[in-house]
Subunit: 123 residues, 6 copies
Amino acid sequence: MAEEFPPEALAVFEEIKAARGIPDVNNFWKALAVDPALLRRTWESLSAVMAPGALDPLVKEMLYLVASMTSGCAYCTASHTAAARAKGMTPAQYGELLAVVGMAAETNRLAEALRVPIDPQFQ
Amino acid sequence: MAEEFPPEALAVFEEIKAARGIPDVNNFWKALAVDPALLRRTWESLSAVMAPGALDPLVKEMLYLVASMTSGCAYCTASHTAAARAKGMTPAQYGELLAVVGMAAETNRLAEALRVPIDPQFQ
Amino acid sequence: MAEEFPPEALAVFEEIKAARGIPDVNNFWKALAVDPALLRRTWESLSAVMAPGALDPLVKEMLYLVASMTSGCAYCTASHTAAARAKGMTPAQYGELLAVVGMAAETNRLAEALRVPIDPQFQ
Amino acid sequence: MAEEFPPEALAVFEEIKAARGIPDVNNFWKALAVDPALLRRTWESLSAVMAPGALDPLVKEMLYLVASMTSGCAYCTASHTAAARAKGMTPAQYGELLAVVGMAAETNRLAEALRVPIDPQFQ
Amino acid sequence: MAEEFPPEALAVFEEIKAARGIPDVNNFWKALAVDPALLRRTWESLSAVMAPGALDPLVKEMLYLVASMTSGCAYCTASHTAAARAKGMTPAQYGELLAVVGMAAETNRLAEALRVPIDPQFQ
Amino acid sequence: MAEEFPPEALAVFEEIKAARGIPDVNNFWKALAVDPALLRRTWESLSAVMAPGALDPLVKEMLYLVASMTSGCAYCTASHTAAARAKGMTPAQYGELLAVVGMAAETNRLAEALRVPIDPQFQ
């Protein structure tokens, strides 16, 4: 399938494979190759965002997963669930993460439905 | 202001104040008092979801914050940012959390815009 | 304020005032006057959608309110809450409507987060 | 398939089957069994929210359906469309419900796009 | 398949086929036939909105596509991507459009997460 | 107010001011300064995305505006409406853009509510 991609895209694929130690990139990157500049920019930003820092890598991955679930992206939910498991997310942690996602959805909606004014101490 | 609330709501307010060691409940709970049964159910579910478990309390709070930011709830974003800070979120952690929220928003949207098929290994 | 609007917009305002028996139109219609054709089309579609039919007028108004709450539109939530009350929504009905909105937000999010396959009997 | 589920989940399944008079639970409940505490809490909250009250059961089901359509949950839309039909929703009522969902989506978006200030009488 | 549709729906189908010069209408219109009044209203509004005007037809189609991608509608994204290509959208334009959709998703989310106050010059 | 910002943030502000020929940056950039690395990355990505290319600058700005309106970001809607006007968007073009946003919101929601299968020619 590689011959379908322009050289600039293949170069990014090689960087992703090297950084992750995987034999092939997943479909998201192949789809982004329709615009090699977008592909490169997205990969470089993602690498910077997910690099080691003040947050534990598993925590960062779980935050990404919660954002993906909340925005309703099926592809992202599937890929980041797999990534979080690979980084050590236990079934119990997954269960609690789901509970937070569900609870937040409910209280987010209720706070907006009731148009609750922000308390001074939260400003 | 207390006299405006029905006794069932005031009873929940007392539980919240006791559990959190605070002198008054925030506006979200007062708004929910329009339906005391909904108020009680929401408080009891929230207490169960946020109780100590497999996830660190600060992590759980940051997951809640990311969900609130992603669903675009201003009230919830304000209150859970304050709660995460109270539980120890540092400015550096907050910066990284924001970066994840932004990055996830971008890749979530791109994955959907390109209708990327889910890779077999993520199923 | 009327002199700021083009004649085609003022004509729609008159139709709205006559249909609703009100002395002035609310801000939504004034804002739509930036494009009189859009204003007219929106008013005519809304009139057709909300006309008497198979659903009770209050039920229709509550459905509109739930859609507005779920999509997070503060203006629409405020205006349709007022409209539902004007059509007879009781405080108890409002409380139950809120509970449905919150519960649906939670289960909608969980069903998507878990990527639940649709049961054959629901197809 | 039952042997895959923990006893706490199976106990909730029995309650659901008894309450609804059905031979098996639908996929949503099986998926939630990844966290039996979340499964139980969700079922108990849903039972409370959908219990007989100030709103007619069919109306409540249609409100749930509109919320599911508006939040774009395919699973929930499928299951609540089936549930509303089972409770008596006619084709004409379904058509009007769809029209409200579409109309609300349009006016919600326009009100936000135009950043319409909330009229004093709606506050 | 035509015999399944009521005459009012078939009449709209004929108008669509004549206006677009196509042998059959796409699935969206067939699905809308559950409510022929909704079908007719939607077709007439769409025709008015997409008619020649101040915006170039390809630009209008790309705006529609961006809205569809941003709201996460897979069907609409597929159909409007095809329509934009039929109206002349080049691969380079498609790549740039995707980049805008992704960038906007990121900055939209960050602006809301940070609750940025609107600058006076933007009011 | 400048003395509140770290030097890395001030350096980005200078780049923005120089690139845009403006005396001060708008609130979005100041808010992003909580994480200077995020600020720099966002500015550099935005510059690349909005640089001259296959799409006309005004078209690109209108696509950004439609995405902002559709995702319901008030700040972004305000700032990109101003930017589109500065790049030459006429009142008639703005009216048509709004009409597309509203129409897309309606048809996006209906296509999802009806779970319309994607036609083979759109795949």
